[in-house]
């Protein structure tokens, strides 16, 4: 199993994160675990033409925060107010 996946924003920014973190998103998880899905040779590379870089960045941070939270580190996740709406929509899209 590949350890990391690459998420690309609409502007072309590449975020390489742990597979485990990416799977916090149900959508991404479904994709990665589909039958006849991705063999070892394939990259786990996904482009999100509808998600901007700052949002995607925030989402990646969220993934890690979520993993830590579930492991007991109960901190707060700060969201800048101006990102809220887009972040919610992206979260909905990614089923996070």
């Amino acid at each position: 199993m590949r350890e990391t996946v690459k998420l690309i924003s609409m502007e072309g920014f590449e975020f390489v994160i742990d597979r485990e973190a990416a799977m916090v998103s149900h959508t991404i998880r479904s994709m990665l675990t589909s039958p006849g899905g991705f063999s070892e040779s394939k990259d786990g590379v996904v482009t999100f033409p509808d998600i901007s870089t700052p949002i995607l960045e925030k989402i990646c941070q969220y993934f890690y925060w979520s993993l830590q939270y579930s492991r007991g580190k109960e901190t707060e996740f700060h969201i800048e107010p101006e990102l809220t709406l887009e972040l919610m929509m992206a979260a909905n899209y990614l089923h996070t």
Binding site: T27, S30, M31, S34, P35, G36, G37, F38, S39, K42, D43, G44, V45, V46, T47, F48, D50, S52, E82, L83, L85, E86, N92, Y93, H95
Partner: protein, 746 residues
Amino acid sequence: ILSLQRVMKSIEFEQGWSVMETGVAKLSRILEELPEPPFLPEEYMNQYTTIYNMCIQKPPLDYSQQLYDKYSEVIATYNKDTVLPSLRNKFDEYMLKELVKRWGNNKVLVRWLSRFFDYLDRYYIPRRALPSLNVAGMKSFCDMVYQEVQSKAKDAVLALIHKEREGQQIDRALLKNVIDVYVGNGMGQMEKYEEDFESFFLEDTASYYSCKASKWIQGDSCPDYMLKSEECLKKEKERVSHYLHVATEPKLIEKVQNELLVVVAKRLIENENSGCRALLRDDKMGDLSRMYRLYHPILLGLDPVADLFKQHVTAEGNALIKQAADAATNQAASSGGVQVQDQVLIRKLIELHDKYMVYVEECFQQHSLFHKALKEAFEVFCNKPVAGASSAEILATYCDNILKKGGGTEKLRDEALEETLEKVVKLLVYISDKDLFAEFYRKKQARRLLFDRSGSEDLEKSILLKFKELLGGQFTSKMEGMVTDITLAKDNQISFEEYLSTNTNTKLGIDLTVTVLTTGFWPSYKTSDLNLPSEMVNCIEAFKAFYATKTKHRRLSWIYSLGTCHISGKFDQKTIELIVSTYQAAVLLLFNNTERLTYTEILEQLNLSHEDLVRLLHSLSCLKYKILTKEPMSRSISKTDTFEFNAKFTDKMRRIKVPLPPMDERKKVIEDVDKDRRYAIDAALVRIMKSRKVLGHQQLVSECVEHLSKMFKPDIKLIKKRIEDLISREYLERDSENPNNFKYLA
């Protein structure tokens, strides 16, 4: 406040749908195993995103419903155009293979499509309470494909199973997968599997085995038939584990058992030549174990087997009884012959019990039905008398033989003896007249203890412990008391001898040993006013004085009939020590004063009864050791005989026992027991009525029987008589309103 406004294109339905169609087409090609590269993440996300976008658009561009319908349509079309045709042109095993493939494919199809269309499952579907994508997809296959082929598939499967039953190899993995199709299409319920497959399978199985059973039962012996049945059951269980659903196993086994074992049970088990009775006769333990294993899981299946077992054991037991009875009548002439037969009988009964207990334990796995059968069988013949002696008496005699000197204690080692005693007690369980046994045992025990004939004190105690365990303390209290008395007597004797040595004015001239018995523990003995020889009178007085120093409130009755004397007989040739009973000694000592005595003179001098005297004189003059000579030299005593001391008597031994053959105690024992029984019945009746106050006749009788069953089986007529007696003694009265009822009178 939005800081970023993105331009979001609206997607027209046709536009969006054509994207999906591409994805669907690719998926189809993959499923049809056409050369097609797998989905890239881009392609996947594209599919997902398309659906997502089409669903978040504001109405009227919210295409959720259309997309949901399209989803179902896609799957239905695929089933209709691709899946069904591929199944329709195939048959039998090929069709099954195709079905399994298509079923697998369907799962993949539904999974992929529902991931593409996933967004619908998040909001649209729950809000409208519609079937989820997964359910809708599976249902499509179920309604369109499964429904059409399931019946043919079932036939194909049954055909393969039949082949396997007839011994051919089949593709088990394929069948397992086909069964999964039936189970899977139940959508979580077992209905489809049960209705579309299992019920037909069970019916088919039943008729298959019904056929086999009819064929086999004609020609096969019982053991062979059972072997085949066992094999079939084993194979069917394997069948379940290899490809059927686990829930089918109990139903399957029940059907097979029914056809192979239940329907033919009577014919099989009762087969004259090779059925249960024959197997028992020929000691075929392996076959009997098999019979038990086969019929054990079947409701009431073991009943006929247990019944035949009981019949067989009863027949064997009865045969032993008859054997003993016949031997006894044949040997009635020779004395001691009857005795030996009794003992042989007990030994054989014990052997019989041991033998069939092994059957109960090993073949029949300690099942209660068979314990019961064995018990009931033994209860039948263990209560039959042999040559006039009840089984209770015979068993008591057997015990006596083991416990007395020269009997078992010298012949067998300790463990063997303990074991034998255990088995004797086991037989006692089956004897209904336990109180009769107790009385005979007690009489013989008394004789052993009093005449020092017991082989081992430990064994005496050991067997009493066993009795106590089995029948309770009340049964053994008297017997134990007897043993204690003997022990105490030994201590007492030491005290007596000390007393004698310290009291120098009491010179007895005779060594006297006295055993004091507690009345009530010991059987009742007649006392008689024997005129003691003067030598003995002093001794009696001395002991009386001694005893008075020990206790003030007890009265001693002397039972001379139980005493033993050692007398020096100064015959012409040599002096011989004679061991005789006190009565015999009394007779002999008369001849110290006179040479000759007539019967009548002896009678007057000793003050004995005729019965006793005849026996005494007979033992001294007509048997092996003729201490007295008799005129005339006939073999029996008459009142006109004369007796003389036989100075010419001699024997190679220096000490001899001159036995006095005991009187037949049988009649007395039976009388005593009958008397005790009357009291026991009275006591039981009163106890029952006291607690119940009012009771019907039938019930009173049956409860009475129940109460007493531990010790004996009371005669119903006797109970009724005792009830009448109690009424006349005003313990009970008849109920004036209902004469069938009795009332307790306080």
